[in-house]
Assembly symmetry: D3
Homo-oligomer: 327 residues x 6
C-alpha cells in the first residue's frame, strides 16, 4: 500500500538518525530526533544542552530550556522548509546530551565548568550548537571557541548584555558580551547586536557603543526592514569565524512569552527566520539559543520557536562546515 518512493524516502531519512521518523510523543526526545552520541569522533556538529539558570536575575526556569526544546524539536526534524537545506547531508550531527553541572548554585565555578566542557568539545573539532540555559552560559562558550583570535558575533536580543559587574559577580546573564570583549573572545568591531530595545540600556549601551559594536535597534528594523539589516550585518561580519547567539527575548512576547525578561515590541518569528536565512554562506563556527523559560511559556510556543531558531542555526552551521570542508 506504500508507494516505493515513500519507502526510499523513509530509508534515507532514517539514515539521519534512528528515531528520525518517530512520532513526537514516542521514544526519547533528542534534539530533532538525531542520534544520542557519546563518542564525539562520530560527529562534526554537536547539539548540546546547558540546563542552568544560575545567572538569571528575573524570572527563572531556563534550566528546563534544553528539555523543552528537545521535546518540541520532535515537530521539526530534518529539512528546512524555506531553504530546503538538510543539515545532515552536509555534516554529521548528534545530540551529545547536557553539560554536566556540579556547581549548580554557584555561578562562578559553574562558568568555569561550562568553559572546560566546551574547550574539550572544541579541541575535538566539533562545532557546538547549544540550547540554554540563561545567557550567562554564552561567555564561557565564546571563550572556549576562539583560537587565539577574537570571534565575530551576531547577537539577537532585546538587551545589550554588556552590563558591568553587579550583585557580587561579573558573570550574571546581563554581562556575557562585556566579558567576552574584555577577554578578547569576541571582536566588538565584528559584533552586531540585532533587535535591541533594552529597558536597562543606560547600564549596558555605553559599553556596547564605545567598544565599537554595531547595534541594529528594533526601531531601525521597524523603519528599514530585515533585508537592510541583513546586508549591514554581512558587511560587518565578513568571512570571519562567526558565532550566533540568539536570546529568545529578541522575539516579541506574543511569539515567545516563556522567557526571563520579556520586552514588548520585538521580532516576529518570520523576521528572525528571514534574518537567519539571509546569513547563509557565513563562516559559522557555533551558536546558541538561550533564555527559553518553560515554566513561563504558553502552550509550548516559546520552546517550539526556540527549537526552530536552533534548527536554522544548525542549517547555517552545517553549510559553514561543508564550505570549510570543501576548501
Amino acid at each position: 500500500m506504500i508507494d516505493p518512493s515513500l519507502n526510499e524516502l523513509v530509508t534515507k531519512v532514517l539514515g539521519y538518525g534512528k528515531s528520525m521518523l518517530e512520532m513526537p510523543f514516542s521514544g526519547i526526545p533528542s534534539f530533532f530526533r538525531t542520534n544520542l552520541c557519546d563518542d564525539w569522533r562520530e560527529i562534526d556538529i554537536a547539539l548540546v544542552g546547558v540546563p542552568s539558570d544560575a545567572g538569571l536575575s528575573h524570572r527563572p526556569g531556563a534550566r528546563y530550556g534544553p528539555q523543552a526544546m528537545r521535546a518540541q524539536s520532535g515537530l521539526i526534524r530534518y529539512i528546512n522548509p524555506f531553504t530546503k537545506v538538510i543539515p545532515y547531508e552536509l555534516a554529521r550531527v548528534g545530540d551529545v546530551g547536557d553539560v554536566p553541572i556540579e556547581n549548580q548554585v554557584n555561578l562562578d565555578p559553574l562558568i568555569e565548568e561550562i568553559f572546560t566542557y566546551y574547550q574539550r568539545l572544541h579541541a575535538a573539532g566539533v562545532v557546538p550548537i547549544t540550547a540554554g540555559g540563561d545567557h550567562s552560559i554564552t561567555y564561557p562558550i565564546l571563550k572556549a571557541l576562539g583560537d587565539g583570535e577574537p570571534l565575530a558575533l551576531i547577537h539577537f536580543d532585546s538587551h545589550h548584555d554588556t552590563v558591568a559587574p553587579m550583585r557580587g559577580t561579573k558573570f550574571h546573564h546581563g554581562a556575557p558580551f562585556r566579558n567576552a570583549v574584555l577577554d578578547g573572545a569576541i571582536d566588538p568591531k565584528r559584533t552586531v547586536q540585532v533587535g535591541i530595545r533594552d529597558p536597562y540600556q543606560e547600564a549596558s549601551r555605553p559599553f556596547a557603543v564605545e567598544s565599537g559594536m554595531t547595534i541594529i535597534d528594533m526601531g531601525e528594523i521597524q523603519e528599514r526592514g530585515i533585508k537592510a539589516a541583513v546586508e549591514k550585518t554581512r558587511e560587518v561580519i565578513g568571512d570571519r569565524p562567526t558565532y550566533i547567539s540568539f536570546d529568545i527575548d529578541a522575539l516579541d512576547p506574543a511569539y515567545a512569552p516563556g522567557t526571563g525578561t520579556p520586552v514588548v515590541g520585538g521580532l516576529t518569528s518570520r523576521e528572525a527566520m528571514q534574518f537567519l536565512q539571509g546569513l547563509r554562506g557565513l563562516n559559522l563556527i557555533g551558536g546558541d539559543v538561550v533564555e527559553v523559560s518553560p515554566p513561563f511559556d504558553a502552550a509550548g510556543m516559546t520552546a517550539l520557536a526556540g527549537a526552530q531558531i536552533m534548527f536554522e542555526i544548525l542549517c547555517l552551521a552545517a553549510e559553514g562546515f561543508a564550505l570549510r570542508s570543501e576548501r
Copy 2:
C-alpha cells in the same frame, strides 16, 4: 431609555437567529449563535462539526475543535467588520450539529461515514461550512460535493497533505488532497496551496508539484505579499465551483498554538483574513477549518481564530450562494 434605532437593530439581528444577541456565556453555543437546525430544507448553508481526530499522527485533540469553535464564535456573530457583509441577509444559515460518528477508532469506515453524511447534505442542496476535526475529514467531503466534475480548491496549510499511504492507511491526515486528486474529486490544475512550509515535504511535495498544483510557499508570501498571492490564486481558480480548506496550522503558532502539527513561520491572522477577503466573488460551494486542537490551545486564541476564519468562509459562501441564486 433605549433609543428607537437600537430597538430596530435588535429586531433585525434577532431575525438572524433567536439567540443572536445572547451573551457569549449564556445559552447553547451554536456556531455564531445561529439557530440549531434539524430540517435541512430550512437552510441554504449548513454549519457542521466533525469531531474526529482519528487521522491525526501527532498531537491529538481536534475532536474538541467543533465544541471550542462554537464557544468562541459567540464573540463574532453577524457582521463582517472588514467587508460589512452580513451573511444571513444573503442566505439562510443554520447549525446542523455534528456529523454522527459510529466508527470512532477505525479511520477507514469513519471516512465512509463522513462521506455518506455530506452526500446527503449535498443532495439536499445545502452548502456545508465545516469545523473539524483533523484534516483527514476533508477528503470525504470533497468526494461528496463534486457533481461529476472535479472541484477547484484553495488550500491553506503549512503542509502539502499529499503524502502516500503509510502506517496502514491511505486516509491519514497528511493525505486528503492526494486522495482527492486520485479520485477526481479535485482538479490539481485548479488547486492552490497557500502558506506551505512543510517540514515533511520530501514525502508530499513531489505529488503536489507533479500533479500540477499551484504552490504559494510562505517564502513567496514573505517576499511578494498577500495581494500578489491573491491575484495568482484567482487566476488559477477562475469561476469554477471552488472549495476552501483551511488548516489552522497555516497560521503562525503565535496566532494558533492549539493545533496538531504547528510549524513556526506562518501567516498572521490579518494576512489570512486579507487573503480570504480577496476571494470575494468566487463560486464557493463549501469550506472547512480544521486542526484546531483545544487541549493544546492557550487562552482559546486558536479556537477564536478558527471561528473567525470560519466566519470569513461563511461570508464568501453566502456571497457565492447569492450570486448563483441571482443567475
Copy 3:
C-alpha cells in the same frame, strides 16, 4: 568590583523611586516601581488603578487588571527603549493606588464614585494615567478632566463604544464615548478612533459617524500603514488638550488574548507602540489602558503589553507636562 559609572547610574535610577531597581519578584509591585504616593502634592502625574469590571458584558476579570499590570510593569521601569525618554526626568510621577470603590455591583453609583475621585485629582493639578478596569470607567474620567471645553480624544479599540443605552443602563462598557459626546466631555470632531473592526458596529458606528468622529478602521491601517494613520490623527487632534484611551482589544488576540471581547485581526504591539511614539509633542492631559482581563490571559502577555502601552502613554504625558511647564 562594580565600576563607578554603574554606581552613578544606580544612584540616579533610585532617584526615580526607592524600589526602581528591585527585582520583579521582590517587594511591593507598584506601577513601574515608582513610589507609592498618598500626598498628591508630591506628584505631577498619577498612576491610578480602577479595579472594576461592573460594566462588562462578556468575559469578566478586568477588575484584576491593575494588579496584573502592576506586577508585569516590574519588567519595564524607567527608560523608553525606542524614544529614550525617561518620564521621571520630565515630571514627578507616583502610584496613587486604586480608586476606592464602594458600589461594586451597581454600575450607576460606581460611575459617580469614579467621577468624584478624578475630579479631585484634576483639581489637585495631577495628570492621571489609569489602568482599568473595563471601558465603562473612561466616561467619568473624561467628564472629570475637561475644564469647560470638550477634550480631544485618541481612542484605540476594536469597537466604537458608542452604543445606545441598553440592558437598563447607559453606562455599560460599550458606550463611554457616546456618553462623553452627549455630555460635551469630548469633541467628536477632534476624536479619532483607531484599529476599529467592530463586530457589533450596526449598533455603534452610526453614532460615531454622524457625530463627526474620524474612524481609522483596521482595514485602512492594513492598507495604508501606521505612518499615514498617525499623520491623519495629528491633523485631527492639533494642539488641543488630548486624552488617549487604549482598549487592549485594539491589539490582535495573539498579542492580547486576555481581554473581555477579543476580535481577531488587530494591531501588533509594535504597530501600537509606533503609533503612540508618533504622537510625541501632543498636549496630552491624561490616558488609560483598559480591558486587560488576567483570568483570560496566557503567560501574562496581555498584562505585559498593557503595562508597556501604559508606559508609552506615561512618556507622552510626561513630555506633554514638560512642554506645558516650559511655556
Copy 4:
C-alpha cells in the same frame, strides 16, 4: 459483533435523551446530555442555568458556570455509580437552557428577573435543579418556590451567606439566606449549614445563630464525621419540602479551585457525595450548585465536581418526585 444485551442497553439509554450516548466532544452539550426542552409540560424536573456573577464580590467568572458544567456533565450521564439510581426512570428530566437575563449589570432588577422566571417554572409544576451563577441567585429561587410556607434548607458552603446589606445592596452573594429568612422563604429552624469555615464570619454568623439555623462547621465534620452530620441534618429537616443549595466552595480548593472565594480546609468530593447520598428519601423540591468559576479553574476539575454534585441533587430530586407521585 455487538452482543444483543448491549443493543438493548443502548436503546434504553437513548430513551433518556437523544444524545445520551454521544461522546463528550460531540454534539450540543446539554446537562448530562438530556434533551433540550422548550415546552415545560414535557418535564417534571428542569435543569436550568443562571449565567450571572453580578452579585460577586471577589473573583468573577461564575457567569461561565452553566456552560462549563454542561460541558463536563457529558462525562457523567445517566446512572449514579454509588446508589445505582437512574433519575430518568423516576421523572421526566430536561435541560431548559439558561434564564434569560436582561439587567446584566444591575443586580437589583436582575434578582427580580430570576424570581419571575422561577415563579413561572414553579407554577408549571416543574422542579428546578440549577447551575449558577454566583450565590446571589439562590434568594430569588427560594422566594419563588415556597407555597406560602417557608422551605427547609440544606446549605453547603464555607460561608454563612447571611451578611447584612452593604456596598449599596442587600442582594450581594453573601446575603441570600438572610434575605430568605427575612422574607419567610425559608425556615431558619429547618435550615442546616454544612461545611462552614467563614473567614468573614463576624459579619454573618450572628444572624445565622440568632435566627436559629443549625450550623455544622468543618471542625465538627473533621471531629465527628459525615455520618453524624447527616443524621443531625435529617433530624432538623424532617419531611418538610426541602431545597439544597451547594456552594462549590464548600469543597476544599484542591477539589474545587475554580471558585470566587475559596477557603482552605473544606470537604472532599467523596465526603460531599456521601453526605448527599445520605439524604435519600427527603422531600426535595429543588436545588442548585453555585459559584463554579471556570476562568479560575484548573483542568476543568471544579466544573466536573460541580456537575457531579448537580447529578447527586438530580438523583435526590428524582427520588423525591417519585415519592410524591406515589402518594
Copy 5:
C-alpha cells in the same frame, strides 16, 4: 567539604544508573533515571512506554503519557520512602524505551503489534512495568504474559472495562478485561477490581459480576477502609502469578485531573499507595499505569502521581522477582 559517607552514598546510587543523581531538568529523562537499555539480557525488569491512545473514546492525549511520566519520574528515583525498598538492589532494572508502533490509527493491528512486542519481552524472561497509553494496551500485554494458565489480576479503575464490542471494534479501551477473560489470559475468579464507580456500568458490570470477578466499589472502600480491601484482595489472589493494572482514573480528579474519563469520588494517592504497599509479597509478574493524559493535566500532578504508582509497582515487582529468584 563533602563528608565521606555522602561520597559512599553517591557511589552506591550511581551504581543503579548512570544518571540517577542528575537533576530533573538535566539529561535524558528515562524512567526514574535508570539506564536506557537496548540489550534485554542485561535486565530483569523492563520499564516500557506504550504511547498510544488509539483506543480512547473520550478525551485523548494518553499517547503523551510515557513522555510525561518519564519527565516527572526524575523527582522520584531510587528508594521507596514508605517501605524503604530499593528496587535496584533486588533486580536489574532498565528503561527499554517505547514500543514501536506502526499502525497508529488502526486499533486492531496496533493491538497485535503490542502483543508481539510483549511476547518477545516475555520470552526474554523480562518482567515488564508499563506506562500507557490508554487502557486498550493492557489486553495484549496480559495475553503475552500468560504461560498457558490464566493470570491473577488486580485492577484499579473507576470503570469495569468489560464492555462488549462496540463502534466497530472489541479492542476499545473499555473492554480489555472482557477480552482477557474470554481469551483465558486472566482468571476472573482471581481478579479483583478496586475503586469502581463506573458511570457506564450497565454496559460493563454484568460481565464482571457474572464472570466471577471480585469487585471492591468505592462505596465499600469509603465504608470499610483500605486495610479490609487489601485483605480481601490478598485472599482472592493468593500466590498466583499476578498482574497489576492501574488506571489513573481510579484516583480522584483532584489527584489525577489529567485523564481521559475522570470520575469524581475516587481514591486519594495515599490510599492507592497504602493499598499497593499492602500487596508486598505477592507473586507479581508485571504491571502498568495507564490513562495519564498530559494535555488535560494541571501542573503535571497526574503524571507525577502516575510515576509514583509506577514506582510502587516496580518495588512490588522487584520484591516478587527476588522472591522467585530465591526459590
Copy 6:
C-alpha cells in the same frame, strides 16, 4: 440600609489594617491586608518575604512565593474560622516587605544577608513570620533567633533537609537543619519532623536519626492519625521557645502542586491545619512557610494553601506573644 452592627464590625476590622476590607483585586496586596510597616517599633509580629530560590536544586520559582502568597492572602484576612482567633487582637502585626537581597546569584553571601536582617529584626524584639523562598532561608533565620540557647523546632516537610554539603556548598535547600544543629541554633532533641517521606533519605535520614530528632513519617500519620502525632510533638517540644518551619511540600501535590520537589502521598490541608491548631499554647517565637513555587502552581491553589498555613502560624505566634506578655 446597612445595619448598625455591620458598621461597628467594619470599624473594628479596619482597626486591624487600613485595607483590611478591600476586595482581593483592589489595592496593594500586603500579607492579609495588614498595614505596610517601615518602623519596626510599631509592631510585635512582622510578616516578611524572602524572595530567593538560590538554594534550590530542582524546580525553581520560589522567588515568586512572597508575591503570590501576598496576593492570595487577600482571601483570608483576620479571623481563624476554626479557632476563632483574631491575631490582631493579641499582637500588633504588620507587613515589613521583603528582605533586600544583594547577592542574588551567590548563595553563601546571600545566607549572610538574610542572617543579618533577621538579627536586626530579632534585636528589635519583633517575632518574624516568613514567606519564602526556598528552604535554604530557614537556617540563617534560626541562627538569628536563638538567644544563646538552641531553639525547639517543629518541621513540616516531605524531606529531612539534613543533607551534607554538596555541589560546592553547605547552604543548599536540603541542609538547613543539619547546619542549624551543628551551629547549635536548634536542639535536635527538641526537634520534630512531620510528614516525612523523603525520596533522598539515605543522604539525610542518618543525620536526623543520629542527632536525636523525632521523626513522624507520613506512614505513622497514616497509621495513627493527626491527634497522636500532635500529642507526641507537644511532649517533645514542651514549653521551650519554638520555631515552626513549614515546607509546603509536606502537603500532597493535589493540595500543593506548585513547589520545587513535590512528593506524592503527603498531608491534606485539613490535616496540616488540624495539626497546627493542635499546637496552641506553645511558646512560638517565629515561623515560616517555604517552597511555594508559583510558576509550577495550578490556579493559585498552592499559594492559597501557603497563605492559609502562614495565617495559622500567625495565630499561634500571636497567642504565644500574648502569653509571654501576660507573664
